[in-house]
């Protein structure tokens, strides 16, 4: 039996990684709401976030904030590229949902292999954003990276909320989620919304990748596990609900960190996948029920 005084510490690390899962889950929701497409290449954005930030930082020698900004823009561009090259042609041909899933999964593997060829198979990591000793509060130790992860995630959620509520593009995307046909009749360019949703979703993935990499590592093959965790977060929160996805992410992060303590780190993916199956079998609509 592990020492229970570790519990708050474990919960903190669960919350941090849960925020990351939440951001990825929101990425799933953004594309799904705009188009009804489930993008299985979502994990590639997270992987690219970490990898591109690493190479910009180390080969170009740019400071971290600029490297992060460059990375986010680059990954958003990659998201639009996937939309143009893979999703758009299938969308125009009215491909079935299964074909779309298969194609995005194939895109994920293509990106993964490209990353392997370009960057090699060695794991890479980024420095901590704030290089100060962690804060001690009684038995709990809080690292600055934890504050960065939670802070940036919450900020993004507020910004996204404002984007969907106040801006024209955000409102148009919500209209697409409601009814694409009616939206297009209102003069909303639905196909532009598709591209925008991929850019936004890719940027969210990139932020998640840049935030999490200092606490662990990144490599060409981290994408699929992250995508699955993000998908689980989206399912648990009720597919298509961004806020639900974020809550689902934190729940998954907590469950996973507890599972690591109870069963060892090797089975953390099995634990997450089992949570997914249980939810799919018992309550596929998630805790809040599916959007719409």
């Amino acid at each position: 039996m592990p020492d229970l005084s570790y519990l708050p510490q474990i919960a903190l690390s669960g919350i941090a990684v849960g925020c990351i899962y939440g951001l990825i889950g929101i990425g799933f929701c953004v594309i799904y709401n705009a188009s009804g497409i489930v993008n299985f290449a979502q994990g590639a954005f997270v992987m690219m976030g970490g990898m591109i930030a690493y190479s910009v930082l180390n080969t170009l020698g740019l400071p971290l904030p600029i490297a992060a900004a460059v990375t986010i823009v680059a990954v958003a561009a990659a998201g639009v590229a996937i939309e143009r090259v893979v999703v758009r042609p299938l969308w125009d041909r009215k491909a079935t949902m299964f074909v779309m899933i298969l194609a995005t999964l194939a895109a994920q593997i293509v990106i993964e292999r490209l990353a392997l060829i370009v960057a090699g198979d060695q794991p890479k990591t980024l420095p901590q954003f704030t290089d100060l000793p962690p804060i001690r509060l009684g038995v709990v130790v809080i690292s600055y990276q934890f504050l960065w992860i939670v802070g940036v995630s919450l900020l993004l959620i507020v910004l996204l909320g404002q984007f969907f509520k106040r801006t024209k593009a955000g409102k148009a995307m919500r209209a697409c989620a409601f009814n694409r046909e009616a939206a297009s009749l209102q003069g909303i360019n639905v196909s532009r919304m598709l591209a925008l949703s991929f850019a936004l979703s890719a940027a969210l993935g990139a932020v998640a990748g840049v935030l999490i990499t200092p606490t662990q590592y990144t490599a060409f093959n981290v994408g699929v596990p992250f995508a699955i965790s993000g998908f689980i977060a989206a399912i648990v929160g009720g597919f298509g609900r961004p806020l639900g996805a974020f809550m689902g992410g934190i729940m998954l992060g907590l469950t996973q960190s507890m599972a690591i303590v109870a069963f060892g780190a090797g089975l953390k993916n099995v634990a997450a996948l089992s949570v997914l199956l249980i939810f799919l079998f018992i309550r596929p609509g998630g805790i809040l029920g599916e959007a719409k």
């Binding site: 090259v85 074909v99 194609a103 194939a106 895109a107 593997i109 699955i228 998908f231 089992s274 997914l276």
Partner: protein, 323 residues
């Protein structure tokens, strides 16, 4: 066979177009028997994958369902065969029977709740099943020896008669593929197969016709899982080694590429796809790292521009005579 209507067409050009991929496939197999060596191994892999894809085609092509997780059943049976023959010295046939039973049991237990799901839920649930089995194969080191893999698996043997030569293995595999294909063709033409095709067309309509949709879907899932299990066991006996990578996500993508190259829903498609796709990496020798890249990119291009695969090659020609 009645599955290739175009082959009976009087138009010689069209006939040639349809026969071309088959000529290539048969030519490659014959060449493998004559030339021997490494090429026999390549074709043996193709035949093992053909078994897997024939099964997948029943579930996806005929019944119109989705599974990203059939590698799980190949892994379950493959590992059972490996452990029972390498550690406990079982007969390969007996070990395969045990592996098949295990795979079917798991398919039954997981299939029941899974097949009630639709769309991306079904896709993700099956993907999760495949990944869980893969993760367990890497982590359960006392049985699977993790990434190290299990070696010393006994070679392919039928009732005490061991097949040692590479050509002999390929011959046995070709026979198995023909039998598996024949069984799939019989199944497709039977009442069962017609019911599955009805479900693929419209579940509601099938239900209205008195078809028990849930039962038939589960049955199709079990049949395709059995094919996957056979492929998994064949693999470990032919290679005499197994590691988790064999049954990873790579297997799923490769199988889908084969299914789409050959033509999903057609009878000969799986064999054709397996042979043609297995030849590709041989053309790009020295580009080993690029293999999955080409498969992935090729699959995307196929899905967009030729979703019916080689089986529909003749559609590219303008139709003469009949409108």
């Amino acid at each position: 066979m009645t599955n290739l209507p175009a082959i009976t067409s009087r138009d010689p050009l069209r006939r040639g177009f349809v026969a071309l991929p088959w000529a290539v496939a048969c030519g490659m197999l014959t060449y493998a028997f004559i030339a021997g060596g490494y090429f026999v191994t390549v074709m043996s892999f193709a035949m093992i994958y053909a078994v897997f894809v024939i099964g997948l085609n029943i579930f996806m092509g005929t019944a119109g369902q989705v599974s990203f997780g059939h590698n799980a059943f190949a892994a379950l049976s493959g590992y059972t065969s490996a452990v029972l023959t390498a550690t406990y010295y079982w007969e390969p046939i007996a070990a395969f029977a045990a592996g098949l039973a295990l795979a079917l049991l798991v398919a039954l237990v997981v299939g029941w709740p899974t097949l009630r799901l639709k769309g991306h839920y079904l896709a993700m649930a099956t993907l999760a099943i495949g990944l869980i089995v893969y993760e367990i194969a890497t982590q359960w080191q006392s049985v699977t020896q993790g990434y190290m893999g299990i070696s010393g698996i006994s070679p392919l043997a039928f009732w005490g008669y061991e097949i040692v030569s590479e050509r002999g293995k390929l011959f046995a595999l070709v026979l198995i593929v023909l039998l598996a294909s024949l069984a799939a063709a019989r199944l497709r033409a039977s009442r069962f197969g017609r019911a599955l095709a009805a479900i693929a067309g419209s579940e509601d309509a099938a239900r209205a016709l008195g078809i028990d949709v849930a039962h038939y879907k589960l049955a199709a899932f079990l049949v395709s899982a059995a094919y996957a299990a056979l492929a998994g066991s064949l693999f470990v006996h032919v290679v005499e080694f197994v590691s988790p990578e064999v049954f990873g996500l790579h297997m799923v993508v490769l199988a889908f590429t084969m299914l789409y190259v050959g033509g999903i829903g057609t009878l000969g498609g799986p064999i054709l796809g397996a042979v043609i796709v297995s030849l590709l990496p041989e053309m790009f020798r020295g580009f080993k790292d690029y293999q999955d890249l080409f498969y992935g990119a090729g699959l995307i291009i196929l899905l967009i521009y030729a979703p019916k695969g080689l089986a529909a090659l003749s559609d590219l020609l303008p139709r003469k005579g009949r409108a």
